[in-house]
């Protein structure tokens, strides 16, 4: 067990090194922002992974819940002057309740019907974000500041480090959940509802759990977003973002904890950090979407377990070559 925690801590540390590298001039300041977004999108994606990968339930409203967390926290800290920690707690709790309601609804509708229903929910959110402009600032968006922890206010680097710490914590906590009795219940619910019921697993309770976790993580991601980027605007929380987060777990690997992190690096990191720097095609509009779109299709068709398993497959390839070499030299 402790060995796997080390893996997560190392990943977090790898991200944390970045601002120090930036101070040394090795990487640019804008790269820090990109890495920060990769981290909080990882958190949101890990949540969606619990919902879709482990529990087999689909939601296209993830972006909406991120937006909710973002706007509520921005309002609470800017307009009401609440300290960050308190605002964080409130900003994840309110979306959590709405997420639980959707979990209730999900008992009645399944599969692609559920996907379509969550689309409807996402649209309602989008309209609310635009119209409730005393709260969200409407089309002009909403500002927020770096987290104010009461005693002192964080700056960009320390907010970044805060996000990394949150990511490590989320990875460890989620790992604990999916490898526990609760996690097995979720997987059983996904694999066979009759078996789950026969084994005493209350489908309602575990659907609520799945939606609860996914919504909580999405709202947390939104709060971290708004206090790092320090700005949120309504058209950003659209279905395309929800689809990108879905792409993260499909490409990275469902039913693993580190898969979503890899996927977030690929979907949110690579386009900004690598593709845009390429000569000629770097400036082409829509390159990121094409890249992600092709990757989803290729991964689903040819690598359905996700890119996270590439490491395993390379190891197997080496083992086989080594084995073949041995048998040949036997003759």
């Amino acid at each position: 067990m402790k060995k796997t925690y080390t893996k997560y801590i190392l990943i977090g540390l790898a991200f944390i090194i970045a601002p120090f590298l930036q101070q040394l001039g090795v990487i640019s300041s804008s790269s820090i922002i990109v890495l920060g977004t990769v981290m909080f999108y990882s958190i949101v994606s890990i949540g969606l992974n619990v919902l879709l990968g482990y529990s087999g339930l689909i939601s296209l409203g993830t972006a909406g819940f991120m937006g909710m967390g973002a706007y509520i926290s921005a309002y609470l800290t800017q307009d009401l002057g609440l300290p960050f920690i308190l605002s964080l707690i409130i900003s994840v709790t309110i979306p959590l309740f709405i997420g639980l309601i959707i979990g209730l609804i999900s008992l009645r509708i399944e599969g692609y019907y559920l996907a379509i229903a969550t689309l409807g929910v996402a649209e309602i959110f989008r309209q609310v974000f635009v119209e409730l402009d005393f709260f969200t600032g409407g089309f002009s968006g909403k500002n927020a500041g770096y987290p104010d922890l009461g005693v002192f206010t964080l700056d960009k680097m320390w907010t970044y480090i805060l996000i990394a710490v949150c990511l490590i914590a989320i990875m460890i906590i989620t790992h604990n959940i999916v490898y526990s009795r609760s996690g097995r219940a979720l997987l059983t619910m996904r694999g066979s509802e009759p078996a789950a019921q026969a084994m005493g697993i209350n489908l309602l309770k575990y659907r609520l759990m799945a939606f609860g976790i996914a919504t909580l993580y999405a709202a947390l991601g939104g709060v971290l977003y708004v206090h790092f980027i320090r700005f949120a605007y309504p058209s950003g929380w659209n279905v395309n973002l929800s689809l990108q987060i879905l792409a993260v777990i499909v490409i990275g690997g469902m039913r693993t904890i580190t898969g979503p992190v890899l996927g977030a690096i690929v979907v949110f990191g690579v386009p900004e950090l690598i593709l845009k720097q390429l000569p000629i095609i770097g400036n082409v509009d829509g390159l990121a979407y094409i890249f992600t779109g092709i990757l989803i299709i290729v991964v689903i068709l040819f690598y359905p377990n996700g890119l996270i398993y590439i490491g395993n497959d390379i190891k197997k390839l080496f083992k086989r070559r080594h084995h073949e070499k041995e048998t040949v030299s036997d003759h």
Binding site: T188, G191, P194, A195, A198, M199
Partner: protein
């Protein structure tokens, strides 16, 4: 000493779109018995099964079960997922195991109801959560040893041979120390050797784990070998109940399986 009834089916009826799938069925199972439910294809065996385990709700009738503390409970009033907590576990004809979990993990799901740790306790790996997991693992490993599968415990279910899948599902039922195990065609798809092995296993389970077993089965050799008593149904109605010997010589049962037999026919009329 007279044995107590474990499960009593009273006047069970269920219809699907005007057709009576089960028609005023009555039978009872005594404690520590191995009891068989047989009948030709389409007789309604699986429907009865689902009515007992509350995957279907019957139109009329009751399913009275003697729980662990000897209360008499009518299962019809309960929800599907509540059944196991009273001591009644089932298997599935389609072997409903989870491909993404290991053999051991699939077993552990069987004892899900016996523990109370919450998801928050799991998230932070509290003492209680760790202790429960330890107990669960112990139980699981014991059953794996009993089944002879402990060398495979971490193998994934996906890709295992059919005989092993059937064994694992059987093991899963034992995890919650049940009072009554109901098996849906446990011999389906097994060859002769595996069926003999299953017969031995069932008798061992009855004595080692001190439980009652209800079998819904097609394989006559298995049924006649292990069952203490049998109920035969056809078109949803009971056509015979008794010991294997009594059932074998029951004319109605023979007719249901073989059709009406002429007196002049020389063919053996025993059902084997």
């Amino acid at each position: 000493m007279k044995k107590k009834p474990c499960l009593t089916i009273n006047d069970l009826t269920i219809s699907f779109g005007g057709i009576k799938a089960v028609d005023h069925l009555n039978f009872h199972i005594l404690e520590s018995e191995i009891y068989g439910l047989i009948g030709p294809n389409g007789a309604g065996k699986t429907t009865v099964f689902n009515c007992i385990t509350q995957f279907y709700k019957p139109n009329t009738g009751s399913v009275m079960f003697a729980s662990r503390n000897n209360d008499l409970l009518n299962l019809v009033t309960m929800k599907t997922h509540q059944i196991i907590s009273h001591g009644l576990v089932r298997t599935f004809q389609n072997v409903e195991l989870i491909h993404e979990l290991s053999i051991l993990d699939n077993l552990l799901v069987g004892a899900h109801v016996d523990f109370t740790s919450t998801v928050l306790q799991h998230a932070f790996r509290t003492k209680k959560a760790r202790e429960e997991e330890r107990l669960l693992l112990e139980r699981g490993k014991d059953i794996l040893k009993f089944l002879g599968l402990d060398d495979k415990m971490h193998d994934l279910i996906g890709g295992q041979p059919y005989g092993i899948l059937k064994k694992v599902e059987l093991g899963r039922t034992l995890m919650s120390h049940p009072k009554l195990i109901i098996l849906d065609e446990p011999a389906a798809g097994l060859n002769d050797t595996e069926t003999l092995d299953l017969a031995r296993l069932l008798k061992e389970i009855r004595s080692n784990y001190n439980c009652t077993i209800l079998l819904v089965e097609h394989d006559m050799r298995l049924v006649m070998d292990v069952c203490d008593r049998i109920c035969a149904i056809s078109f949803g109605k009971k056509i015979g109940e008794g010991t294997p010997l009594e059932i074998q010589s029951n004319k109605d049962v023979q007719e249901a399986y073989l059709g009406k037999v002429d007196d002049e026919d020389e063919t053996s009329t025993d059902i084997r």
